[in-house]
Subunit: 154 residues, 4 copies
């Protein structure tokens, strides 16, 4: 089976997400990244609900995000998501947030997650999960400040 390694998830900006500048509040993008990651995992055959039920936790250990253009109320936003790196205890995702209609790039981001067990202790990513997560080169330059190269920590 071939799965698309860069998945796309649509979210529509709702009123609660706007702020008094008339744009989507910056912290909401992290929720959109989370929604896109959950869909990416699902499309890779790894339902996060099932992973948690099986005792795995993926907790966010680092986020970097660059905001380029604002999203507005009722805009349909497309979040492209891919795996950047898989290590024994850590997975890193890349994201491009785009305006769904005109394709403008709204934000780029990376999120690193650590594998924990149900008691929130450090764990190894199960091999069958790691096998489902195929890294791809960034399809878009993330342009994060001073992120000069990918890290190999894990």
């Amino acid at each position: 089976m071939t799965v698309s390694r860069v998945t796309e998830t649509l979210v529509r900006v709702n009123y609660s997400e706007t702020d008094q500048m008339g744009v989507a509040y910056h912290a909401r993008y992290l929720v959109w990244l989370d929604i896109a990651r959950t869909e990416h995992l699902r499309q890779c055959g790894a339902s996060y609900r099932e992973l948690e039920a099986a005792g795995l936790r993926l907790v966010v250990s680092e986020v970097a995000i660059r905001y380029r253009q604002p999203a507005r109320f009722d805009d349909l936003v497309r979040v492209r998501c891919w795996v950047r790196e898989v290590a024994s205890r850590r997975v890193t995702f890349g994201y491009a947030v785009e305006h769904a209609e005109d394709g403008r790039l709204l934000a780029t981001a990376m999120v690193a997650l650590l594998a924990l067990d149900a008691a929130m202790g450090l764990a190894r990513l199960p091999k069958q999960v790691g096998a489902l997560l195929q890294p791809v080169p960034d399809p878009v330059a993330l342009g994060l400040t001073s992120e000069t190269q990918r890290t190999s920590r894990a």
Copy 2:
């Protein structure tokens, strides 16, 4: 007048901020950083409410955050905040999020903001505002992935 250049703001983790892992959800930290930044500005003599009323907007252009230990429901959290850099159109803040009772470091972060005018066009940071924002060296190493040095972009 001498003002403390590293301010401290307390937030208590409320129930809405927890997730089903039993910890504060990661996107909430960005709101805490925002609250701390607003208090920092106030203590520096620059009420953000008044800055907006005068036509200035400070919009978040970049965030990087590293999560170190979880915060839990009802925990009192202390956010230390300082200015890292001031440029003609851009201000960068640094943050250390700590458990207020035992001092454990929960997260470190940087947030960059751009000055915009009321029409959301690029603007210069007013001189009198820039003068209130005195950069200090990071009191805590932020340890952000691959942020190898401070940037001088603006």
Copy 3:
């Protein structure tokens, strides 16, 4: 043109919406009601984005909600929405929140909104907007505490 007077909108419970009881946090339902109301208006031919651009504001003046069963992470939730009453300055919506897969009723609610102008002063609901909003009898008993009959205030 005949439009369905009870519209249906799907929302999937994301991780940020869960709390440490392992269920969707109660305040999030109000956001789902807002999303469903926006879609209801759109399907009735009254885009809320366009209404705002034309100077109208619909602000929430009252909410009553009864929670019956919890929603959980990754559940697909269906929000049924209808107009209960239209008065000169006020519109009231009814809602049934259901589990999309098994149809269980999760919550029932009413939300009343007042028409304001762009300066946030009381306004009349434009006739052409009121004409698009056709009240229907509640398809589900809302069962709100002591709401013994519909009100006729406005």
Copy 4:
């Protein structure tokens, strides 16, 4: 020991809570009520964190809220909270949300909670908890639509 039966909790409206109307988004009030309820319980000698650790859950079963005037960014808001009724499985709280500086009434509300056990099954409110929660007559008329009298359900 005499404790104040109407407690007061301050919250400051942060930027994330505003929406593009320039006011605090209506769903955020439910979070403020939650924060005030947690403080009320604490002041009554019943830390909710400890109640949960002891196996009790108080889940929101009903909310009714009437919005009277908007709160704005950086406003300091005072939430007055009291117990309206205590029954064997159910506690009802009343609230008045006020502008802290000028005392204007911003909203009134009631929230009913059910006692559940750690497995989320119906439970009785422990007697020692019930004893700490002393109902008082509403100090402010809540003015909720059609709430014609207090209920005696439980």
